[in-house]
């Protein structure tokens, strides 16, 4: 089965910031390849600066990749011109981490949710209004609140608005970049459940970018761990969490604070100095790791 999204050899370099530092480039994403299969939730995890967010944005070309291919439904997004890219993006949407900065504070939330429809010239004014109301219902918001502004909503509700906007065009793939990490713990679960319900109802595929390993384990089918711009391990969630093969994955898993004493594991410390960028190899069926 061809994957819905195939990322291969993706590279993104950034110029080192500031004239004081004397130029040079940093490779934020370094030869990243992975497939996302139809209907699954694929997790991209790692610590800050590992390149997971840049990878997500390169897929949408919100950041232009330096090199590499991003094949979505058989089309290489990296080669599309602006017009065809816009068309392709209908089917490929993103939900951002921060529900406070990702919604325009001067727009009514109804207009925010309708905006993608306007941009893509879909429907009449009345049809768009009706679609927005439907989307509000879908994400568990009261359609009567469409005339309100973002600041009138809590963080969890704002994230629902961001999700309604992402779903307006009926995408098949949603890139969720830390969708709940700005929310209170008791509200996170609501949004996670909503994401899972929507996946079942709408047949969505998720690329789930997160740093919270507990959450990734809960929602993802397959997981790739990134470190210094590279994927160091990729496997079905059960295998990755049950039998991590890369020393960095082991260190990451062992660092998560556990609520129940029975779950505690011996801490593994990763030697950052000793890291060598090795190629991924199969350590078990469907389980790749960058190890000797």
């Amino acid at each position: 089965m061809t994957p819905l999204l195939a990322v291969s050899h993706l590279v993104r370099d950034f110029k080192r910031g500031g004239w004081l530092r004397g130029g040079g480039t940093v490779r934020a994403v370094d030869d990243v390849s992975f497939d996302v299969r139809q209907g699954e939730t694929f997790g991209l995890v790692g610590e800050s600066g590992c390149g997971k967010t840049t990878t997500g944005r390169c897929i949408l070309r919100l950041i232009e990749p330096t090199s590499g291919q991003v094949v979505f439904r058989g089309t290489d997004l990296a080669t599309l011109n602006a017009r065809n890219l816009r068309r392709a993006r209908r089917d490929l949407q993103i939900v951002f981490q921060d529900p406070y900065s990702s919604l325009n504070p001067r727009m009514r939330v109804g207009a925010i949710v309708e905006e993608p429809l306007i941009i893509h010239r879909i429907g009449t004014r009345d049809e768009r209004k009706a679609r927005a109301a439907e989307l509000f219902g879908l994400v568990g918001l009261d359609p009567a609140h469409a005339g309100r502004f973002p600041h009138e909503f809590s963080g969890g509700q704002r994230q629902r608005i961001g999700l309604a906007r992402a779903l307006a065009l009926n995408p098949s793939l949603v890139i969720a970049d830390e969708p709940v990490s700005a929310l209170d713990v008791s509200v996170q679960a609501q949004v996670v459940n909503l994401l899972q319900d929507l996946q079942t109802r709408l047949g969505l595929t998720y690329l789930f970018i997160a740093h919270d390993l507990r959450l990734v384990r809960q929602v993802c089918d397959r997981v790739a761990v990134m470190y210094r711009g590279r994927i160091v391990e990729m496997a079905p969630a059960e295998a990755l969490f049950g039998a991590p093969a890369h020393p960095y994955t082991r260190a990451l898993l062992s660092a998560v604070p556990r609520v129940s004493p029975e779950d505690r594991t011996v801490r593994v410390v990763f030697d950052h100095e000793a890291f060598r960028p090795l190629a991924l190899r199969e350590v078990a069926t469907d389980h790749l790791a960058a190890v000797e």
Partner: protein
Amino acid sequence: MKSQTPFAAFSANTVNSPPDAPLLSVEGLQTVFTLADGRDAAAVSDLSLSLRRGETLGLVGESGCGKSVTALSILRLVMPPGRITAGRIVFDGRDLLTLDEPALRKIRGRRIGFVFQEPMVALNPVYTIGRQIAETVAVHGLARGAAAKARAVEWLEAARVPEPARRAREYPHQLSGGLRQRAMIALALCANPALLIADEPTTALDVTVQAEILDLLRDLRASLGLALLLITHDLGVVAEMADRVAVMYGGRIVEDGPVSAVFHSPAHPYTRGLLACLPDATRGHRLVAIGGTVPSLGHFPPGCAFAPRCGDRLEECSVAPPGITALSGDSGTGRTVRCYLHQPSSGGGA
């Protein structure tokens, strides 16, 4: 850790109060903020907690529950439009609410150290970290000049900052988040306090760095005999670090007790919900979400603040806040809860 660590220079933490008295005891604290519309709202209400020497209390809650205001109140750092309107804060035998600013300055930083979530805000960007620590050491009269500078390097080393002598000459912006938090810890401990208040000390950090900082706090706590008031929203951090936990919601402590007992058999519906909604590592399994949203200051409901979100709500819950009930039985030792379900009169059992 090497033997010439700076704490060898001190005798053990000197305390004035008798050894069996709590080091810190907060009783009936109320801290009120005047909102933009002129109304007064209590960010912290009727809050009581105590901390013994060498003990760690985890104060947990979500945003706006009053946990940081509690910390600032204990340090007497609440600024207008906020003010403390009731209560007692007895630290080592003295009520901090009766002290004037000069007396407080001898306690803040000296007897009570503090670490905040954002070291970039708490550290002064225009001085090297070595100078900031040396100055603190000097202000509290512990050493001066070159000796204070040497002490600063020793404390950075104790906080496991690599190459401490070189790092002492660097500015906060030159350090990574993890190193900055280590520098902040060195600064907080350099006057050898008896109590450390740490407000979300690892929240801004990556998980592997968080684990290192928690290890560091654990080791320093043991070697210095520190009492630790650890404020966090992360139940995992509490489970790994604290002896006792106090759960806050809507400005009040709703449940309090030994960590293992509270997490094993939570008594308050909010604590139960909070534990239940954590990802439990079962793929596909639905999380048990608490409906509704966390109330913000000025919008705390009358009665129990959790009532609108509570599945076990009784009629009286929305009328007046419940009082504190001590739990009984084997699993109830040293535990209190603020919930009508546990009040003997309402027949809720427990």
